[in-house]
Symmetry: C2
Subunit: 368 residues, 2 copies
């Protein structure tokens, strides 16, 4: 046969990658990064108890993981004061967003997000033939009122809102999100991505019932819990919607050691508190470094800081490229005017010392 008979949709899709991984960049530059501050991973790592649980589970890896994720869902339900029927566990928020989009979006269906928001969500929408409508940020924050108004205008099936936001680090209070939801149109499901909420100020998580049929919330062990490489995310929503994931998910898709690690991580809230403190300190330090170089750090409720480089996207890109050349892995927003910033994840003292050394040179190179 000459070429496989792809679906018309598959044929139309570009072979793009939402993000180029740091390992790819390391192979290209022929050297490892000195500081890995570009993917909003948690350099502070997971709870030692989670590491121990995963190491121990490695010996049991000959067994498939429990396809129901029973114990983890039970513990998450207790943690959130919901029932297990409100919770689906999946291969990271990325995996869960894919399943959700698959359930809801077909060719021509409309979806709303912010210009410059999470590209992997957009990747899924495009991948199922959805039509994306984008709303600009307002003062470097996602704009719930504009998002929901656009959703009404285009009859969107889904509207995506990250709170706190990536890539800007900005946030709204949960109460403000809930108030704004009064304007959420009937027939539009809110996808509230709360990936960073564990390091946001008290009151940032949306104070809604898990049974509220208007939204589904996404949470993850990849960020403050420090387990990005384990691929464990979960969604909280009304039981009917949660049950629908069983129609399409990869039932045996979860890594068994990751299940055990997430359970241990959830049970060690003391560790989470120490990480929250370290993230807070690192955010402050990144802000100082920015200011020492005449730049403006944006307020952040996440484990990274967007630094306004004070000029346009081309300038910020030049700064970023010099940082990468110097072995500092960072990323930057995709869309103007947010792309005047670079995005720096919280690092260890050594990481931030390396960033301190590299930033003046990067600015000089970009200006030069």
């Amino acid at each position: 046969m000459s070429e496989p008979r792809y679906t018309p949709l598959a044929r139309s899709l570009p072979a793009t990658v939402p993000f180029v991984g740091p390992e790819t960049q390391e192979r290209q530059r022929g050297a490892p990064f000195v500081a890995r501050l570009g993917a909003n991973e948690s350099v502070f790592g997971p709870s030692p108890k989670a590491i121990e649980a995963m190491a121990r589970a490695s010996s049991d890896i000959w067994m498939y993981g429990d396809p129901e994720n029973h114990d983890l869902r039970d513990a998450l339900a207790e943690h959130h004061g919901t029932t297990p029927d409100n919770i689906v566990v999946g291969e990271g928020i990325d995996g869960l967003l894919g399943y959700l989009v698959r359930l809801m979006v077909g060719p021509g269906d409309t979806v709303v997000t912010s210009e410059g928001a999470y590209p992997t969500f957009n990747y899924h929408v495009a991948g199922y033939g959805g039509e994306l409508h984008k709303v600009p940020y307002k003062d470097d924050r996602e704009d719930p009122a504009a998002l929901f108004a656009k959703a009404a205008e285009v009859n969107a099936k889904l509207v995506y809102l990250a709170n706190p936001d990536n890539p800007m680090g900005s946030w709204h209070s949960g109460a403000d999100i809930v108030a704004a939801m009064d304007a959420l149109p009937e027939g539009t499901l809110l996808v509230l991505d709360e990936a960073y909420v564990e390091c946001a100020p008290e009151g940032t998580a949306a104070p809604v019932s898990a049974d509220d049929p208007r939204l589904i919330r996404m949470r993850t062990f990849s960020k403050v819990y420090g387990m990005a490489g384990a691929r464990v995310g979960y969604a909280i929503g009304a039981p009917g919607l949660i049950a629908a994931f069983n129609k399409v998910r990869n039932h045996f898709g979860m890594n068994r050691a990751a299940q055990a690690g997430a359970l241990a991580a959830l049970r060690d809230q003391d560790w989470l508190a120490t990480v929250q403190t370290r993230i807070s300190k690192a955010r402050t330090r990144i802000g100082e470094i920015a200011k020492d170089n005449g730049l403006v750090p944006l307020p952040s409720a996440t484990n990274f800081v967007a630094i306004d480089c004070g000029q346009d996207g081309a300038f910020a890109k030049a700064v970023l490229e010099s940082l990468v050349e110097q072995g500092i892995f960072v990323r930057m927003p995709f869309a103007a005017p947010q792309n005047r910033c670079i995005r720096v994840s919280c690092g260890t003292e050594d990481d931030l010392a390396a960033f301190t050394d590299a930033l003046p040179k990067a600015l000089a190179a970009a200006r030069g």
Copy 2:
């Protein structure tokens, strides 16, 4: 909103699960299984070097895995004498089958498989709206000639063939598969699932070029490599088809420790050889136990044995249910007449001793 606006396809899908996991059964019976012989996992476990690699990688789990799976694809390419462009790594064969079906099958597209073959493939086909046509087994073996003739008749986009077969354990020589492929219709892609090939007789793997555009081969670390819980599978195919997976896959979906474990497992072919020997001995032992009870073990090229219980599906089901009650987790084929059998995975000596004790009681109960 009252109910989410699912796609018509999603709305039409049942909330079924391809398999009920053993943990679910354990929760139902209120006790753990004595012997876990139902999921064709490898009780012999992975290479100790793989366990060590996964345990070590647990400390690095704060980092996302390499989305290109570069090192593992490189090693697999060397192992198979192909290029990395011939190989895509994914979340088990289950995950890869899902991506493949998504690329190829839309509502109304036709797909061919055997009656009673791997249900998770069927789950994916149904999940994307495909229309399944099934061909019966012939002498308890998949029937390539009939499969390919049916594919021609219904203009199938995909035809699924497992060699060796699950759930029967039967097999064809790779040369016979290749000869049969002369009748594979233009425009039909053969999905050759070789999940069990590492414990099959020499010559079972299809002797085809990785660039052959007529087929894609599926391999896994879940069976003889003993890493079912890690979720690492891979497909070998022509570069164009392999590249197409990048349009739809979850790029950051792989567990970082699993990537490291698979690499270490692949490099320890000595361990694989010891597992092959143990599987061979366990198959022989299962056969003896069957014969001691007046039953007929079917020849097997896999890590399990289908035992013909000598009567119909209802009888085999009664045997199975008694075994499960006695703490022996086994499964059985879904379709007649193969459902006259129970399917018993290779176990340790202790596992098979427990099976030896339980089988006579199960037969008595079923006859009783």
